[in-house]
């Protein structure tokens, strides 16, 4: 078979696994939260129900071309992010298309979906969408700064911007993981990770508890379904990225599930413990201590 | 020696007249004193072997200038008169 075709098929397989994993996590995590709070909670397959419901709605409305394309951008961004990353270390099958670009491509490609989504949401003309975008973008710029410093610190440490190489360098036991070899960078990145996941205390962007304020305000039916698919894929892609950079990657799917789940739980725990930040607070917060840690990480790796 | 004494006397006269010309409140007297300085100076020129300069100074520096001053002064006075 044509090697390209094989690659595409394996990529689709990856996508399928990740999608299901993402959807399940979406259901399981609230379920755990509910059980801890001694409530019954939603069924773990709730996310599947939502998607099916959205796709089977008969009323479908659109505000215009950008409104229509926005979710496409969003989902392309999520899938693309996954596609440009090696998922399972050492497995030829699950390298996806990571040979076409390095860490930088991944870092910048995150914004592809964000920007497209923001544009789509903006066309709806709903002020709440715009407010959500404003909040989201503001917060993103803030946590990206320590994140980048951390990533740069890793790049300095490993003298490469190639994700596979970074993962390779961490093999051989957890003492080789970046989180152990470069704790400062890891700290900066993991703090930034909280912002990237968009959970409490940084969830004012979507404001899930209130009447919907945030980019997807106007979306419904199939369009919302696309967004939900992305909401399943995109966080997992990010988790995989952090896993690759900080926790030595994964050599098999179970390892991947375990590591990503634990990383995910880190943001969940923080979210449970801390109250929500307002955007101006979170911006200042990210540009405070986390930024200093990031700078320190750079200095330490460069000079010591 | 006598020339020197004369020169000194002339000089003192000139200084005195200059001071009058500058400080006296009566403008007519002042103009006359200034003319006087010129006149005395022309005598000094004679002593300094410059007769032609002396002549010129006496006629122009002393005479003509004083006349012009009075002419202008008159015009100003007339003007003042008309105004009043």
């Amino acid at each position: 078979m044509d090697p390209i075709l094989v690659k595409i098929l394996y990529a689709l397989l990856t996508l399928f696994i990740v999608l299901n994993y993402g959807l399940l996590i979406q259901g399981i995590v609230p379920k755990i939260g509910a059980r801890v709070g001694r409530r019954h909670g939603i069924p773990f397959y709730q996310a599947y129900l939502d998607i099916i419901k959205n796709y089977s709605k008969r009323t479908r409305v659109t505000h215009g071309i950008m409104f229509y394309i926005g979710p496409v951008f969003r989902l392309t961004g999520g899938i693309g992010l996954l596609m440009f990353m090696p998922v399972i270390f050492g497995s030829n099958m699950f390298q996806n298309f990571s040979f076409t670009g390095d860490l930088l491509l991944v870092l910048y490609f995150q914004f592809f979906g964000v920007l497209g989504m923001a544009l789509g949401a903006a066309e709806s003309g709903h002020p709440h969408s715009a407010i959500g975008v404003s909040r989201g973008l503001s917060q993103t710029t803030a946590f990206e700064f320590p994140l980048t410093l951390g990533v740069l610190s890793l790049a300095v440490q490993y003298q490469t911007l190639n994700i596979s190489d970074i993962v390779a360098a961490q093999q051989g036991g957890f003492m080789h993981w970046s989180i152990m070899t470069n704790p400062l960078a890891a700290a900066a990145m993991l703090i930034a990770f909280l912002g990237a996941m968009g959970r409490a205390p940084f969830d004012v962007v979507l404001a899930p508890q209130e009447i919907p304020i945030g980019p997807p305000t106007e979306y419904q039916s199939g369009l919302l379904g696309v967004l939900q698919l992305n909401r399943a894929i995109f966080p997992i892609a990010k988790l995989i990225l952090f896993m690759n950079l900080l926790f030595g990657g994964a050599t098999s799917w179970p390892e991947l599930f375990l590591k990503t789940f634990l990383i995910y739980m880190w943001s969940v725990f923080v979210g449970v413990v801390f109250p929500r930040f307002r955007v101006d607070h979170s911006v200042r917060w990210f540009l405070g201590v986390p930024l200093l840690i990031g700078i320190l990480a750079i200095i330490v790796t460069k000079f010591f | 020696m006598i020339y020197i004494i004369i020169a000194i006397v002339l000089g003192i006269v000139m200084i005195v007249m200059s001071i009058i010309a500058i400080h006296h409140k009566n403008i007519t007297l002042a103009i006359l004193s200034a003319g006087g300085v010129s006149l005395v100076a022309s005598i000094l020129y004679l002593l300094l072997a410059a007769p032609d300069v002396a002549l010129t100074e006496a006629s122009i520096g002393s005479g003509l200038t004083t006349i012009i001053f009075f002419y202008v002064l008159n015009k100003i006075k007339k003007h003042k008169h008309v105004e009043e």
């Binding site: - | 020197i4 010309a21 072997a49 003007h79």
Partner: protein
Amino acid sequence: MEKIGIEQISLAFGFIILMLGLWGILSRKNIIKIVLSFTLFDTGLNIIIVAIGYLKNKTAPILDSAELQTDTASKIVDPLPQALVLTSIVIGLGVTSLLLVYALKLYKEKKSLFINDYKDLKW
């Protein structure tokens, strides 16, 4: 020390008159007085020039007598400064009269000869 001659004395008086004139120019507030001080200033200047041109025991640079016709240059005083003074006196007259014309015109404008009144242009 050289013996003091008439030219040194004249020079000194010339300077004194010059300075008095300058004093008048700088201190008087009446425009006519200022112009008057200018004539004094000029007179002092002229005295200085003539005194500089004067060399002792020489006669005037007018070649009328026969004895002066020979070896002229060593017997007469330097004629040049005297010529200069003549010119200077005439120019002085011109300047003085023009100053007076200005004084008159100024008076016509503001009915005042007080120089401090003419500060329309400044800064």
